[in-house]
Symmetry: C2
Subunit: 510 residues, 2 copies
């Protein structure tokens, strides 16, 4: 790997870290903003340098969308990018299904690449495949460019989930018309935030899609529906289950960092210990860098080597903990920690030092969404978490958001609009044909639906799964439980479609 691709990867890395470090204050940072979904780090990496990059056969098209579906303001439209493949579609006469991935907070090409499952199963279903991009991400920019779209709170104000769902619905209605496919059943897919969109779309637009596979979709991570400690407790448990000493070293490390930082030359020593390229300005930056490594490790703790965010070995937390634990007696806690996070930030061993630059504009799409609708309270429990203790404080969160974007969050809006409290009763009565799939290693699983709700709203839980692993392309290293999970998903989708055909036989006479 030459110098160029090394830089490229490092840039991606910088971006990943940067977004965590958007704001500066005396508090541990990553805990003030909720952790980010994996997806958002795709902003810059449309074509990750993965050897297993999928060869996908699609066309790229653009659809002119209204900027505000819910008012009649005379605003400029914007081009929504979507990837479409009709290669395996059996067509409207045979009422072939449409597989529709609800694009999330990043470049849609990257999601298409990392959602091999949909592409792999499309041929056996004779399905059209559509990957629409989420507004304000990738190339789907209002106002002509990202710079303009992200200029201020006014230009950003239409970056909401409801607008995105309306985009999808309008696009689908148009596609169905253009392909004479009005009777063709639509199946929604989505992972993470995209999974939330898929589930919500199935609930809000049941007339448009017949079912949804919502993978790792934390639709309950709002208000007080799940305890705010849930996320960091799961991350912590992922480490503890590998090794309690590893858990303890990490738990100890924060105080060590703080006390080292307070000594003369302390920041310099920390900079050196952790191989940070530029001299640390505060320990907060280091906190954020480490916290995000642990959180992302928990999300992508896949059972085989992968390169979703970073090149990683299989069972990467096991590997991290092995390195943290293995130093001979006398190895300092911080040296151990450095060895461990190296697995995440530098598994290939090519990085000489790490950049912690933050986002120069302090703006990113997901940060905006987290500061407006996607208000997910997160705390870190003193006992059960290995992270620095932190109690969620809405007032300071609100202040931060106002400083960053000049916007006031609406913490109750998502549950008002989409529900969430007493979700089981609602889903039982109104939902159907939804799969909530979750791996329990994934810290987002705690905010998702982990119980079967009814015959057709089902929860697929895998003990050893991580963040939407089921949506990834199959590999030769897939464990049995994953193979089985995907088979179940295929079977359920087949059932939705055949039930749909059965019920509508009279209409379209196939």
């Amino acid at each position: 790997m030459g110098q160029d691709s090394f830089r490229l990867r490092l840039n991606t890395l910088v971006l990943i870290v940067a977004i965590i470090l958007v704001s500066h204050s005396a508090q541990p940072l990553a805990l003030k903003h909720a952790p980010r979904f994996v997806g958002k780090f795709a902003l810059a990496s449309t074509a990750p340098s993965q050897s297993q990059s999928l060869q996908l056969n699609y066309e790229t098209r653009y659809f002119q969308q209204r900027l505000d579906h819910f008012s009649f303001l005379d605003l400029p439209t914007f081009p929504q990018r979507y990837l479409i493949s009709t290669e395996h579609w059996v067509g409207p006469k045979r009422v072939g299904p449409i597989f529709f991935y609800c694009g999330n907070e990043g470049d849609i090409v990257w999601f298409a690449q990392n959602t091999g499952f949909v592409w792999e199963i499309a041929p056996q279903f004779g399905a059209m495949v559509v990957f629409p991009e989420h507004r304000y991400y990738g190339e789907s920019m209002p106002y002509g460019s990202k710079e303009e779209a992200y200029k201020n709170a006014t230009t950003l104000s239409y970056l909401t989930a409801e607008q995105a769902l309306a985009d999808f619905s309008v696009l689908l209605t148009d596609l169905k018309q253009n392909f004479s496919a009005k009777d063709c059943p639509v199946v929604l897919f989505g992972g993470s935030y995209g999974g939330m969109l898929a589930a919500w779309m199935r609930l809000k637009y049941p007339h448009i899609a017949i079912g949804a596979l919502a993978s790792s979709a934390p639709i309950l991570q709002f208000e007080n529906i799940v305890p705010p400690e849930t996320f960091y407790d799961i991350v912590s448990n992922d480490f503890r289950r590998e090794s309690s000493s590893c858990f303890n070293y990490i738990k100890q490390s924060w105080d060590e960092i703080t006390s080292t930082g307070q000594t003369k030359d302390g920041l310099e020593r920390l900079t050196k210990t952790f191989h940070i390229c530029q001299q640390l300005k505060s320990t907060d930056d280091l906190y954020g860098w480490l916290e995000s490594a642990y959180s992302y490790l928990a999300m992508v703790d896949y059972p085989y080597p992968s390169a979703f965010l970073m090149p990683l070995p299989g069972h990467s937390i096991k590997e991290v903990c092995k390195r943290i634990d293995r130093g001979p007696a006398g190895t300092s806690v911080l040296e151990r920690i450095y060895e461990g996070v190296n697995v995440y930030y530098n598994y290939t061993g090519e990085a000489k030092c790490f950049e912690l630059d933050d986002d120069p504009h302090g703006m990113s799409g997901w940060n905006w969404q987290a500061c407006t609708e996607m208000v997910m309270p997160m705390s870190s429990n003193k006992e059960s978490s290995m992270f620095p203790p932190y109690e969620y404080n809405y007032s300071s969160f609100q202040e931060e958001c106002f400083m960053e974007f000049g916007v006031k969050p609406r913490p109750k809006w998502i549950t008002t609009e989409f529900g969430g409290k007493n979700i089981h009763a609602t889903l039982k009565k109104f939902g159907s044909n939804i799969i909530f799939s979750n791996g329990l290693l994934d810290p987002w699983s705690g905010g998702s639906v982990l119980q079967n709700i009814s015959e057709s709203v089902v929860s697929l839980v895998t003990e050893e799964g991580a963040h939407h692993i089921d949506l990834r392309a199959s590999t030769q290293n897939d464990p049995d439980w994953l193979v089985k999970q995907r088979k179940t998903e295929i079977k359920l989708i087949e059932d939705w479609i055949s039930n749909y055909y059965q019920k509508n036989k009279a209409i379209f006479d196939i």
Copy 2:
């Protein structure tokens, strides 16, 4: 009745007529814009001078609403008025129900007055009663005043059904919290456009309300879901079933008006024949005046004397036709017509002449809604309709809307957002606890749901019913079918509530 109340009534009348006549062109007018719901004529008449005016016991309150729920634009909030009565509510401990009327296109006090059913049944249910006003109507004006709110397409742009539903959802969420009533079941009510809102709200916000009584709610009057002739065919049939000669006289009258209008002094003669106060400028104005009388007569063809829009005898179409038919041989068609419409415009006999002034600003809330989302195609069939033949022409409609408001309609949006095509399948699978009640005399019934969909999505159809008669206060003259219909509605609502209690018994321990 003194001169003052005579003027008052005439003013109301003028308003009713005015809105029909907003635009001027060579075409028959009322047919170019879709007929209006009854509700909109309530704009000015908060306290109709009805002897049977209900004595309601409520408080008037105001709730600050976001102007745009679906963006984060920094817009001024506005006060949404709502009427609330806790007089009969059994309170949160006994999980007392909340009856919530989805306010439609007019002053909410007027709707409360004309929705006696909800007030009458609240005591037996121990229910709280809430009547929220629809944004941009009555006192619920954005931007401080009607003048400002209706200034232009930009200020009007948030007058949409989705925003109104979000208002209701946010208000209900807040009320539930303030009354510690989060478990209290909400039942939605609505008539006409309000009925559409009730049905849509039940579909879109199932987590907020447990059921909806949607009376005379034409949720299918969009695109090509029902034939465009439906509305005027029903009006015509209402007249034909009373008397085929009456139907024929009306059908003939249009040509007579046109040919008279083309003669010298023709407009003067027409002005005189129809007792119009100011000299007619074109026959179009007369067309509109007559067309709206027939349409409204069909809507309010109640079996007993009423004064919903105008003081009218029971079975008013029968009375109209009697007068049209009764003149001796040789009575001219136009004289007959005048005698007939007098029943509508002047049943009390106090009007000396009729004002046809139009709305000086050419603006009204429902016109805006009809020109944006509520695009309801309407034609008049040459054979089956007694109205002048008219074929719906979307292009000219679009042009008219652009001229009037500077806005482009979105004719497919309502069906994209709320569904409508293949509604039976959608309702069967996703809907529950919805009553669609319709009287077949009501011309809006043709665009509603007239079949039972499932055990809990039911259609109550009455042969002799008109526009949401079931929602009106009971009277001693109620026919048996109406008494029975209301009993069925009460029984269904009781079932919803007791099922809800049954299912949630474990939670709130009542």
